[in-house]
Amino acid sequence: MEDTVNRAADTWLIRKATLPSGRSTDLLLHDGVIAETGTRLAAAGAQVLDADGLIALPGLVDLHTHLREPGREDAETIGTGTRAAALGGYTAVHAMANTEPVADTAGVVEQVWRLGREAGHCDVQPVGAVTLGLGGTRLAELGAMADSAARVRVFSDDGHCVSDPLLMRRALEYVKAFDGVIAQHAQEPRLTEGAQMNEGAVSGRLGLAGWPAVAEEAIIARDCLLAAHVGSALHVCHVSTAGSVEIIRWAKSKGWRVTAEVTPHHLLLTDELAESYDPIYKVNPPLRTATDIEGLRVGLADGTIDCVATDHAPHPSEAKDTEWADAAFGMTGLEVALRAVQQAMVETGLLDWAGVADRMSVRPAAIGRLGGHGILPAAGGPANLTLYDPAAAPEPVDPAAHASKSRNSPFRGVALPGHVVATFLRGTATVLDGKATS
């Protein structure tokens, strides 16, 4: 009996979904794969979901998520973070290494990977630290992490820049042995000592120490040259300036193996929000100017920037209920990322839904070397799907209603369009009717 129920629960007939290409189709999900596509499909015992007007995106993939576990379970756990991810339409997230202990050994990355499996809301692919304890002086055992059950391919000291040029060169070279990629948090440390916000007109007026664009751009330029020199793969985390986009465009034009991501908040919000001195707008790299937003959007549209990554960075309220300078850097993002991208890129005509599928699923999965994800919905493919209603009336974001343990969303009160209706992970619904199934 129980067996029968389970099989029925795992068979879904999704009617009249719109594919990213614009074509309408039914989708039959069975045994973790898309068993069949076409019109007027029928399946006895299948649960039916009417997807008329909904877009069927390949399950979203986040290259940059802070799940905080182990160590800071007061801010987020793998359970709450992956539920938040599923609600945002994600079927896989890359968990950043800056946990306590740091994910710099095979043991820690395997633990994170297993906890993700057990939570079941979405796949958790650990990112390994580049240097021991994120200390920036000695390489972590990158090979051991690559060979572990977690099969780590992306390595990052995110939150810290691998600023030592020799160490960065060695890391880039070393990961070639197992097709790894170094994801760099580009921040020249000396140029950003004590930095609080974008250096410009607003920082000058507010008397907050500036984080100049050049501190990001100088590292990106250096790293592109290093990646070219050693023939390795560089991924640039959370690109925030128009100048960075130009440098990456140039590096790509050379045929170098450079990829890049941009966050939803950098696509929509400017440094003028700091005028309130409310640290909900404090993030690293900082919110920049309208000119930068324009450059980032154009870069994402033309493919210079490969993907959107959330940099979901949950913090407990006491880390934000403070003076600006004392507050933690970071913003949550998983639950609003797709809506924010619709606002920034689709409503502006810069990307169509095929473009969104590419930038939020296909390309991040490719950069993360993540099998089974980032595959456009087609018969025989994995049943990792996000059903999204782009016509849902814009609703103000309410962080108190979020599944994330933390409330530090910069979109608080901002009306964003769209609604994630359902998310399927290998054929199992993790989200239905906009609500988590477990």
């Binding site: 250096e199 410009g200 007109a201 007026r205 507010l206 500036g210 209920d321 403070t322 300078a325």
Partner: protein
């Protein structure tokens, strides 16, 4: 004006003039044998100081006491703050104790903004990080008005700056006059040429002064090594020069900022001696100023660095007057915010 005084930039011209004129009245009363006024009897003013600043704290304390307010001094050192209490919890504690106004000095820019969001009482910024120090700007403006004879009722007897004497029919003069009507024309600093010298980048005094001087119609020139100016200073409504000697003859007021020795280690300038040679005000440079010009410094001074002793002690120096005027101006601010008087202007 808001119910708080957080930034000089938030003041309208009418607000600023009301504060300055009220300070004039209060200053006259302080010449009486009994200085105390009953205005704020039964009201509680808390001095919440997260940075050591005996001068500013005493000035606010004297101002509140002359208005008969009860004053509580809360210093972060050795307090609950030292034990890790957050600003928010400290604020809620003060609120529960019935503080009608909190005077806050904090090393974090924006701390008074945050405080104003957490408590019902009035917030007065006594200096926040590198952001603002509005009562310093108000006392500086008050001092300039008095020394240059520009306060209402000063008539033609006081000395006027050269720019005003020479250009009484100039565009500046006309525009000031044509704004006319009520307060707007009188008592401002229209056309007064103020030069601010030194570490503008890190200075809350400079930010407040630039904002208020602009509001009052003065023409501001900044002089500093390029390293000590904000990167976007082009957008500020003032002139910028790297050459102090060129600016001196065209200044009615010269304001020297304190320069901290630790700036040298962060490579803002090569040495204290070089800074002093290029940007310090010594007797030779003072002689290049017009005869009526005054020399100001918010204190505490580094004698021999940004200002030579003989300049600091010269009759042109207003440094001691600034301290005295600080009490009058802070009395005016407390009187207007706590006394229930509505300042009329809209925040800018």
């Amino acid at each position: 004006m808001n119910r708080h005084l957080i930034a000089a930039a938030d003041l309208s011209r009418d607000d600023a003039l009301l504060i300055l004129d009220t300070a004039e009245e209060l200053a006259r009363m302080s010449d009486r044998p009994i200085k105390k006024l009953p205005t704020l009897r039964g009201r509680t003013v808390v001095n919440l100081f997260f940075e050591d600043s005996t001068r500013t704290r005493i000035s606010f304390e004297a101002a509140a006491k002359r208005l008969s307010a009860d004053v509580i001094n809360f210093s972060a050192k050795g307090s609950s703050v030292a034990k890790g209490e957050s600003l928010k919890d400290t604020a809620l504690t003060l609120e529960a104790m019935g503080a009608d106004a909190v005077v806050i000095r904090h090393d974090a820019s924006g701390a008074p903004h945050r405080l104003a969001g957490w408590i019902r009482g009035h917030v007065i910024n006594a200096g926040d990080g590198m952001h603002e120090h509005p009562t310093q700007a108000l006392l500086d403006a008050f001092t300039i008005r008095r020394r240059l004879g520009l306060q209402p009722g000063a008539g033609e007897t006081g000395p006027a700056p050269a720019s005003r004497r020479a250009a009484s029919g100039s565009a500046t003069g006309h525009s000031a006059a044509s704004r006319g009507g009520g307060r707007s024309g009188a008592g401002g600093l229209d056309g007064v040429r103020v030069t601010i010298v030194g570490d503008v980048l890190h200075s809350r005094v400079a930010r407040s002064n630039i904002a208020l001087l602009n509001i009052l119609g003065a023409e501001v020139t900044l002089v500093a090594p390029p390293t000590l100016l904000p990167i976007a200073v082009d957008g500020w409504s003032c002139e910028v020069s790297y050459d102090l000697d060129a600016v001196l003859p065209k200044s009615d007021v010269i304001m020297m900022l304190r320069v901290q020795r630790e700036r040298m280690t962060a490579a803002y300038f090569p040495s204290v001696r070089e800074y002093s040679r290029r940007y310090g005000l010594d007797a030779g440079r003072m002689a290049m100023l017009p005869e009526h010009a005054i020399v100001m410094h918010p204190g505490p001074m580094n004698r021999g660095v940004e200002i030579a002793a003989e300049v600091a002690d010269s009759p042109r120096s207003t440094i001691v007057e600034q301290v005295a005027n600080g009490v009058s101006v802070r009395m005016a601010v407390l009187y207007l915010l706590l006394g229930g008087a509505e300042l009329t202007g809209e925040p800018r």
